[in-house]
Amino acid sequence: MDDTQARKFQKDLNGGLVALVLLGVLGHTSEDLYGYEIAKRLQKANRGEALFKEGTVYPVLRALAAQGLLTSRVVPSYAGPARRYYRITDEGRAMLAQWSEIWRQTRGFVDRFIEGTDA
């Protein structure tokens, strides 16, 4: 199996999924999270093997905040630069519900063909 092709396919898939996953993480927690924490949660959820590089989490977080789906606040830290904590907005929750529905439909549709139940 060609590894670079597999990676490229994964990367193409991740395009919108990273944003959906981030909204999901922040939508199902009551606390504010900062970038490193979110990246570690994702890594842990997949038994240490993240589906995407943690470095891609940060620009997407900033993009979601710029679109008003997340709000953020800066808290000083002893370990290094001040941390930016993110929280989901009402607009973000509405978007999460909508995107989740699209994802469920897409997943169901794709599964029907790759599992051969409807060919």
Binding site: Y36, K53, G55, T56, R62, A66, V74, A79, G80, P81
Partner: protein
């Protein structure tokens, strides 16, 4: 490119990979990477910095990968956030372009910014002059050092806020994160670093120069608005009086109208009023154009002084 073995090396490689990008984007990307890397190193106290960095390529991503992620996301965000601006679609004649400025929200916000700069300029100027002279005065006392650090810290926060405001008004990309002071170091090391950092001084210079600029911007805006309001308003008042809607004895109390009511304009009241009205409209439109262009230039000046130039 060799795999980075230290945080500084990683940040240097990331900066190189983003060299063609906007300075503000680079500042954000370096900030995010440093937050992650320092947290990761702190989370593994049993390993050395170079051991942690060895694994970074498989977790956070190699500098080139991370740079690519920022480039992609930036392009998408820019497309999504782009202000529609003035829509000059159907007939792009010189006339529609000239008056199209009224449809551009940036022209209004620029005009507002010009009025605002007098107030912010006074505040910034006072802040810098007071801060610098108190720092010099306190230098021999024990509170001198923390005072200077706090002063520079506040100046950086002001610089960030000013950048965000100008990005909202002009669309010029500015940093979304403050420049952080770097790893924990002794008071003296920090002070020396601040004194050596060229940007500390350019930031203070920007805050100082905001006062004279603010005075100029404010004067231009107020003068332009007053002249055009008078020119547009006078004919309307005269018309109102002619139609009997306004009852105002112009001859006695309003000196301005004495000038307008010269012998020539008395003989040609309709023509002179129309002329005045049109002149007022043109002056107002020119002012809007001027405001938009001036503040766009101002944003570039702010960027060159407040944002780290690509090293």
């Amino acid at each position: 490119m060799n795999a980075p073995r230290s945080i500084d090396e990683y940040l240097k490689q990331l900066r190189r990979a983003l060299a063609d990008q906007d300075a503000a984007l680079i500042q954000d990307a370096l900030y995010d990477a440093e937050e992650y890397l320092r947290a990761e190193v702190a989370a593994h106290p049993d390993k050395s910095e170079s051991d942690v960095l060895e694994l970074i390529a498989s977790t956070y991503g190699a500098p080139e990968e991370v740079a690519a992620a920022y480039r992609d996301t930036e392009a998408k965000v820019r497309a999504a956030l782009k202000s529609p601006g003035a829509k000059v679609t159907a007939k792009s004649t010189a006339l529609t372009r000239f008056f199209g400025v009224y449809l551009d929200p940036r022209a209004y916000s620029s005009l507002f910014f010009m009025l605002l700069t007098l107030a912010t300029g006074i505040v910034y100027f006072t802040f810098v002059v007071a801060g610098l002279s108190l720092s010099a005065g306190f230098a021999i006392l024990i509170i001198g050092v923390p005072f200077f650090l706090v002063f520079i810290g506040i100046a950086r926060v002001i610089a960030l806020g000013e950048g965000r405001l100008l990005e909202a008004i002009t669309g010029e990309r500015m940093p979304r994160r403050p420049l952080h002071p770097g790893p924990a170091a002794s008071w003296w090391a920090r002070i020396l670093e601040m004194l050596k950092d060229l940007r500390t001084w350019t930031t203070l210079a920007y805050l100082l120069v905001m006062l004279p600029l603010g005075i100029i911007y404010f004067t231009v805006a107020v003068t332009g608005l007053a002249i055009s309001a008078t020119f547009i308003g006078t004919p309307l008042l005269l018309l109102g009086q002619h139609l009997g809607w306004v009852h105002w004895d112009f001859t006695n109390d309003v000196t301005l109208f004495n000038g307008v009511g010269s012998a020539w304009s008395m003989e040609h009241p309709v023509f002179s009023s129309t002329l005045l009205f049109v002149a007022g409209l043109i002056i107002l439109t020119l002012l809007m154009h001027l405001a938009r262009a001036l503040i766009r230039g101002h944003a570039r000046l702010a960027k060159s002084l407040l944002v780290v130039p690509g090293a």
